[in-house]
């Protein structure tokens, strides 16, 4: 796990930015498809948030911090 700590902020419509907590530098910005239905949570090197797609499917998305690579998507309803 990285020793750095991160947080997530909204960065325009359908985009999230991962921020280095100590420097407030924008590490990466990631787009997502759908509507955000939960607050993104950063825990260690993972960022998790829920979205609802245009078809109404609700998904839990997991993203690698700080690369921004999405590595898991799970339908939740």
């Amino acid at each position: 796990m990285s020793t750095k700590q991160y947080t997530v902020i909204p960065k325009g419509r359908n985009r999230l930015a991962i921020i280095d907590l100590s420097t407030k530098l924008n590490v990466t910005t990631r787009p997502f498809e759908g509507t955000l239905i939960s607050t993104p949570i950063v825990h260690g090197d993972d960022c998790t948030f829920a979205i609802e797609t245009s078809s109404g499917t609700r998904k839990l998305i997991s993203m690698q911090v700080p690369s921004g690579m999405m590595y898991a998507s799970k339908v939740i309803s």
Binding site: P10, K11, R13, T23, K24, L25, N26, L36, I37
Partner: protein, 160 residues
């Protein structure tokens, strides 16, 4: 939902701040914090954050960023300088510059606050402040502030 938003625009409710014709903030006063959610024009959740009295209330941050914007707009550099906590961190595209004190900032304020950065800040809405981990930002993370000994101060500028 759109009809509801149009009604809210004409009939302001306690805890509701209209950002423009269609998007708005809903501020809930909780026992130990304030929950601020931003709803986009299409009714979707744009952001959600929490403000705590010990790290700065929503109103305190909005006031700071309004003062900062006003000082920038009039190029009142002394007032701009008084909004900062020193050392002030300026993150540029290439590196990080640390402004040690007010005097250093006032020597060349435009070196630290470029025209594009100023434009980004002036076009943002202080009411749209977003809080995270004891600090808060406007302009999509261009300006960050947090509580210091002398009250809320800006401590990071990310140049755009």
């Amino acid at each position: 939902m759109n009809q509801l938003i149009q009604v809210l625009a004409f009939l302001p409710l306690p805890g509701v701040v209209m950002l423009d014709d269609s998007s708005f903030l809903k501020i809930d006063q909780l026992t130990d914090s304030q929950k601020v959610i931003e709803i986009s024009g299409d009714g979707s959740l744009f952001s959600q954050s929490f403000f705590y009295p010990e790290t700065g209330t929503y109103e305190e941050y909005v006031h700071l960023f309004q003062e900062f914007q006003s000082a920038l707009h009039s190029e009142s550099w002394e007032k701009v300088a008084s909004c900062f906590h020193y050392p002030l961190r300026i993150n540029t595209a290439e590196s990080t510059v640390i402004v040690e004190n007010r005097k250093e900032f006032l020597l060349q304020p435009r070196q630290f606050l470029t025209s594009k950065t100023i434009q980004t800040i002036l076009s943002s809405k202080p009411a749209q402040v977003f809080s995270s981990n004891g600090a808060a930002m406007i302009a999509e993370g261009t300006v960050w502030a947090c509580k210091q000994e002398g009250g809320l101060k800006i401590f990071v500028i990310n140049q755009t």
